[in-house]
Subunit: 288 residues, 2 copies
Amino acid sequence: MKVGIVGIGLIGGSFAVDLRKEYRNVFLVGFDISPENQERALELGLIDKKGEASDWSSLDLVIVTVPVDAMLKVLPNVLDQISDDCLVMDAGSTKRQICEAVAGHPKRRNFLACHPIAGTEFSGPTAAHQGLYEGTTMIICEVEKTAFKLQERGMELINKVGMRVRYMNPEAHDKHIAYVSHLSHISSFMLGKTVIDKEENERDIFDLAGSGFESTVRLAKSSPDMWAPIFEQNKDNVLETLKEYIANLRDFKEKMEEGDFKSVYEQMLNTNRIKEILKGIPLTKTTK
Amino acid sequence: MKVGIVGIGLIGGSFAVDLRKEYRNVFLVGFDISPENQERALELGLIDKKGEASDWSSLDLVIVTVPVDAMLKVLPNVLDQISDDCLVMDAGSTKRQICEAVAGHPKRRNFLACHPIAGTEFSGPTAAHQGLYEGTTMIICEVEKTAFKLQERGMELINKVGMRVRYMNPEAHDKHIAYVSHLSHISSFMLGKTVIDKEENERDIFDLAGSGFESTVRLAKSSPDMWAPIFEQNKDNVLETLKEYIANLRDFKEKMEEGDFKSVYEQMLNTNRIKEILKGIPLTKTTK
């Protein structure tokens, strides 16, 4: 099997590692806008060769893992160049605009719209590692628009890397993922900003920070190149979650101002239910 | 050495485990408002006996690890009952009101005001474990008010369990810890609340949550019995941090509404500095 990886960072590179382990005789071709990343991926053995124009027609599978703004242009271009028997999967954190971008493409049936719920706050080919996907969730959108035979090829890969599958439509995906992923990135970034703004002249204050702060602010290490386009593409849903988050914070603040610590207590107690809810989430394997 | 632990939960129990390892012939006496916790601590071997009124006068050291509202009453009572040669340490997450509560006590010199920056989101004696304090920070306030000989006894313990020490005054402690600890608990609780409120009729949505959400919302598992009194005692400082956090979130939201994703990008990029800052924080040992 000849596989193209477009964007060989944490996500694409980790697929490359798993594919090499799971498929005998896999041959991995890497494309990246950054020649440094491409070179690094080759040195690390993530890919077997740097991709060239002449490779496209011979690929059996292409995984496109570029930021979601780039995805809107890259994906149709990739579809333009592949053979009729090639499957193209993406890994974008938004789905509506991406699906729209290829909706009318003559090779729409070659595309499987995917969002792997996996990753760390690190990026680039050096962050790639085996097992990133084990036990995590792959969301697939508009599966019915993909050719049966190519659906099968995609499902085989998803099973081999150890993921479970959830099918959704792109609109529902973007709405729900705003709550369970996009909002937590903003809460974390703004927490980091608040503390840095206040404390930047007293750097040793961070000596006082414990693992709780580290955990809550972890996502503020994430790449703006990846996340700014996500917030832009999912603007309406993200704004909705932000509105509700700010309203909850203001309510909590007002309760504190009024000295109503009984309500403060009850809000926290009710939210403790998150313990049960989180039991279904796979353990973080590499948070640091 | 005969040691009393008042409140044998995660914090007190973990001190008990480390003391047993580090001190030969240590004898541990456990007090707790909950007979079940006390019994459980005995079964787990955290303590050698349940504390009784007759034990107080023979103790060399007492570690008081109760919620900060209870601390204001428990601490003076403990000081009333100990011998002149006994050291009392607390572990409260606030320091100003606690120091005030014993400021005029005839045994003020027997007290060392402490805040160990350590813990997990779990509580109770079953959560206690060895090594919780290894590599973490102990903040000590008003050290000059503690008798020299007893300061030494406290420092020996702190060194033995592997902590580094930072000296601060109680007001500075409460102000800075609001940023690096109290605020992140509120941001996490409100994130959990926002997502639960929205998604509680669609529980399987949490299947879509990844390790990023899990990390950011981890502190929302924390005990309201511990945290509501902390927010109450540190109300003014916490309100200040909340005001700034909400202002930053509103600004981020406005930038998104205006379509100014260049500013959104730059705010995230600037906040990425948290990577460097966090390098000084000890690794989380038990996040799950």
